[in-house]
């Protein structure tokens, strides 16, 4: 299916049983997934889960060792340039030319797509406005803050009107305000119809942006659904989280009565019954305890036995 047509209601990414090995390590171990046009798909998982490797294979930067990939209508490895002409990619390394200014960096990146001329200059201006970098055209890259650099990376990835925007950990290392600003930008893009593939180890990022979340662990896709669906199918609605070391007898009782689980020094008791958890918290006089809604993080913990930031 070599159609490569502009975004419609089609499928943007279709993976079947994709494998990538680095020597003995199975970085990606048989992943199948589909990303329809116009949604934001988040690959959520800890560092080393294989998210970046998978997104590089989708982005035609890395060959798969097995399985089949179809990205915007092409096999990405066989049609690298065809596919990459249609993608916008934000990697973890920004790799700007530090000696050049913002405008020159965009100009040069545009040339990699053979984009130039007045219409393209207008496009650059529009994207700098959109990413709130207008007025900084002549600033050397060295003088940009971390947040501005990341915004410029997103602007750069949009220069070619991509059919799929791939973002590899777009907010890692940014402070919360900048992170929220980037999320808001990505939401606007999504609302405009952009298809987005996002990798992240921030549960909140996936919950905020994604229409579908695939949870990855050790190279495998262990669960996939809407964020709400993932929580509903895997966990009761509420969770009592407490310090498992605070009162050993209380921990023992919670394990016995509420089937609480212990991960590291934290304890987790799940239940659909919020008042039950609240009364347990009160009865055991746990100071460092809280009752909250179950989150994607809890789903990940339940499915893998470890937390996302391990």
């Amino acid at each position: 299916m070599q159609n490569g047509k502009a975004s419609g209601n089609g499928t943007i990414v279709e993976l079947k049983n994709v494998v990538k090995n680095y020597g003995e390590l199975k970085a990606v171990d048989g992943i199948s997934l589909t990303i329809p046009s116009g949604i934001c798909y988040a690959l959520l998982g800890p560092n080393g889960a294989g998210k970046s490797t998978l997104s590089k294979m989708i982005g035609a930067m890395l060959a798969a060792d097995g399985g089949s990939l179809n990205v915007v209508g092409f096999d990405p490895w066989k049609c690298q340039s065809e596919v990459k002409t249609r993608l916008g990619v934000v990697l973890q390394d920004d790799a700007f030319d530090e000696d050049l200014d913002v405008w020159s960096n965009l100009e040069i990146y545009g040339m990699f797509f053979w984009l130039r001329g007045d219409a393209f200059k207008e496009k650059m201006r529009g994207l700098l406005r959109f990413m709130e970098l207008d007025g900084r055209e002549n600033k050397p890259i060295q003088e940009l803050s971390g947040g501005m650099r990341r915004r410029l990376m997103i602007a750069r990835a949009l220069l070619n009107d991509p059919q799929l925007l791939i973002l590899d950990e777009p907010t890692t290392g940014l402070d919360p305000q900048v992170r929220h600003a980037i999320w808001s930008t990505l939401r606007k893009l999504k609302a405009a119809g952009m298809t987005i593939l996002l990798t992240t180890h921030y549960m909140e990022e996936a919950a905020q942006l994604a229409d579908r979340v695939g949870i990855m662990n050790k190279g495998r896709l262990i669960a996939e659904d809407t964020p709400e669906g993932l929580i509903e199918t895997n966990l009761p609605k509420f969770v009592l989280e407490f310090d498992a070391q605070e009162i050993p007898s209380a921990t023992a009782a919670l394990v016995k009565d509420l089937k609480a689980e212990q991960h590291g020094d934290r304890g987790f008791a799940f239940s659909p019954d919020e008042p039950l958890l609240l009364s347990a918290l009160r009865d055991h006089r746990l100071r460092d305890g809280t009752v909250r809604r179950a989150s994607l993080e809890d789903v990940f913990l339940k499915l893998t036995g470890r937390s996302l930031d391990e």
Partner: protein, 284 residues
């Protein structure tokens, strides 16, 4: 809301509105992709033109002043029928192209790959690994062309350029640079860290230049060693530069007219092998 305020508000909203979704551009051709890599290097290079070009041009000129004119004053004989400094000029030009390309294809390429992640950013665009290193090879060759031309202009002022074919010096510089860029890419594709290039420069390139006819005619090497020189790539480079700088009567061997073709073949073969080696080396 008052009217001006309303307009200002609308303008603010519009400014941050995402650009409308449009179809991506057509795929750029192979030639355009390779030229785009060249263009990137050209733009970055131009930001510090003087700092970049000055040492690369001054070094061979000091070499000529110190050895060609300085040492040459004490040599009471001719070399291939020329005074010593004029005899040295073709080798100086070859050395300029060699070092320019070799530095660009080792240290500079390694820094772009390992530290600046320039190639990672390029890989996220329509450029393939092969496009990237073909562009890199073209850029190294261009620098060889440019620097040999600049050094030739100064040598002409010294009176060392004797042939009307000297207009072809930049062409010889281009293909010499391509050959040594290809060879250097093969080295870059196997080194583990940037310090290992020292071996290549001090144990291979520098001795190579010294025994290939830069400072004395190779046929004067003792014990038939000159036969060995005929198999060194730099020998053919220097003979080629002799042809275009000081003319056919100043060459060292009777078959000197074949040397430009040997250099051309070396440029294409080594260039291609070097590109292939770097393609395999570059990880995403």
């Amino acid at each position: 809301m008052s009217r001006p305020a309303e307009e200002a508000h609308r303008a603010a909203v519009d400014a941050s509105a995402p650009p409308a979704l449009m179809a991506p551009p057509p795929m750029p051709s192979r030639l355009n992709r390779v030229l785009a890599v060249w263009y990137r290097h050209y733009r970055v290079y131009c930001t510090s033109l003087i700092a970049n070009a000055t040492p690369a041009v001054l070094e061979p000129l000091f070499f000529q002043i110190a050895i060609g004119f300085g040492v040459g004053r004490y040599l009471d004989r001719t070399f291939n029928g020329l005074d010593y400094a004029t005899f040295m000029a073709p080798g100086i030009l070859g050395m300029t192209a060699l070092y320019t390309a070799s530095f660009e294809a080792t240290h500079a390429t390694f820094v772009r790959m390992r530290y600046q992640k320039t190639y990672s950013a390029m890989l996220a665009t329509p450029l393939t690994r092969q496009d990237i290193f073909l562009g890199e090879l073209l850029w190294c060759s261009t620098k060889g062309l440019l620097y040999s031309a600049i050094v030739a202009c100064v040598l002409a002022l010294f009176g060392n350029i004797r042939s009307p074919y000297a207009v072809l010096i930049p062409v010889a510089g281009f293909f010499t640079a391509m050959a040594f860029a290809g060879l250097s890419f093969m080295v870059t594709s196997v080194v583990k860290n940037i310090n290992q290039f020292q071996y290549y420069f001090t144990a291979f390139l520098t001795p190579l230049i010294y025994v290939s006819g830069l400072m004395f005619p190779v046929q004067e090497l003792p014990y038939g060693l000159y036969w060995g020189a005929y198999f060194l790539p730099m020998f053919h480079v220097i003979e080629t530069f002799r042809l275009v700088t000081t003319g056919i009567e100043s060459t060292s061997v009777s078959w000197a007219l074949y040397c430009p073709f040997i250099v051309l073949v070396m440029a294409l073969v080594l260039g291609w092998l070097g590109v292939r080696a770097m393609e395999k080396r570059l990880t995403a």
